[in-house]
Symmetry: C2
Subunit: 234 residues, 2 copies
Amino acid sequence: MPQKNNNVFSSEIINALSIDCLIIGFQESKLKILLVQHAEGIIKNQWALPGGWVAYNENIDAAAYRLLNDLTGVKEIYLEQLKAFGEVNRYPSKRVITIAYFALTRPENFELHPGFTASDAKWFSILDIPKLPYDHDQILDFARQILKRKVKYEPIGFNLLPEKFTLLQLRDLYEAILEKKLDKPNFRRKITKMNLLIPCNEKQQSVSHRAANLYRFDKLVYDKLKKKGFIFEF
Amino acid sequence: MPQKNNNVFSSEIINALSIDCLIIGFQESKLKILLVQHAEGIIKNQWALPGGWVAYNENIDAAAYRLLNDLTGVKEIYLEQLKAFGEVNRYPSKRVITIAYFALTRPENFELHPGFTASDAKWFSILDIPKLPYDHDQILDFARQILKRKVKYEPIGFNLLPEKFTLLQLRDLYEAILEKKLDKPNFRRKITKMNLLIPCNEKQQSVSHRAANLYRFDKLVYDKLKKKGFIFEF
DNA sequence: TACCTTGTAGTCAAATTGACTATAAGAATT
DNA sequence: AATTCTTATAGTCAATTTGACTACAAGGTA
């Protein structure tokens, strides 16, 4: 095992490790992902996952938050590590290992203001993504797979839906993630039996049909189920 | 985004990234984990997860295989990435990010011969692990959690059990992972209904009670279920 | 007022579950 | 040779859950 070596060319250590963020949103019944155009560098003017370098004295989780905020203006978001991608040639000019982070959020909560390192930031439908640079396509595929699996053993939606939502909105979300249709009454029966939802005693506004009841998550039950896990099969 | 910089102090880049392996086995109805004593370095003579440095021009997956083999003599094993651990101070002398890998295997398949970088390698019961250095305790906890979750949405056992095994051995495995008792007839009913097991039409040998039938996994069904996922709740 | 559209409740047979009991098959003991 | 272990395997049964439906409610809109 190597001994300590003080001849550290620190900036290069920093450069060897990057972060890429998969920021997932849900809007108009569709899954969205946030992409940015970097202002400079090799992939200038190309849409890519938001990301950048980890600083030498920065925890990787902290780096993910910082980069996300710098590039998109998105703050106070829940991030979770997905996986490290470390193929030798995944990045053209040198060896870079990237750690992919994954977040679920509400697009309408954020006014995107690309930071000084990105020239633009935009939500894309997950069904219609431009060709991404490096191995970003592969990272995105992996993230979608994980999301599909996640939905089956943890509650989901707390970060994706508005605070108050209808059962049909929640079903739409599940359908978008699982990529299949779910029976309306059966979904309702199953989800309400979980004790996860609290009725708001309020109705949807300005819809041109019967207004649905609004619900919100019981944060306590939600967190408990998230930790303990459950089984949700359709 | 930084440009290419050729003043790379490569050995230091290498040193900044390490791999740690969690090699899980199942023996005498107990989950085991493989630990090593490093021959040299800061934690000489202390039991720790097998691991080491990733070379500059080496894929991280390849590095995991190489290191595992160098340290323990274990070859041809299925490794899967668990997570990157990147707290700034997780390693004493400098900033090291480690990528944890995770494998399920059969201890009896390997004759451990610690390589030149390890002075010893040994299987420990997962219920009785010595204090591990760095953040290895935390990594191990994380791995146990993941295993517990994994068992619920994927078949497990193919790499942990002998080729031919009894239903009770399989149940013992599930009990060890889930850390709870499972009803014998109900377990049998559930697992056999999955079409995952093929009866060998052979019986257990030299047991001092009624001999049980031996089964093996249907590799095709197993792989399909592993890919597609299922739900296994007790 | 009729007729859309979506929300919500309820039905019912089939399948699954959880908690059991009962019996079978050997080996070991008497 | 009979009895007594121990573990294997089959089966029972009520309660719950599921999947595939039907029916009706509650609005807006034509």
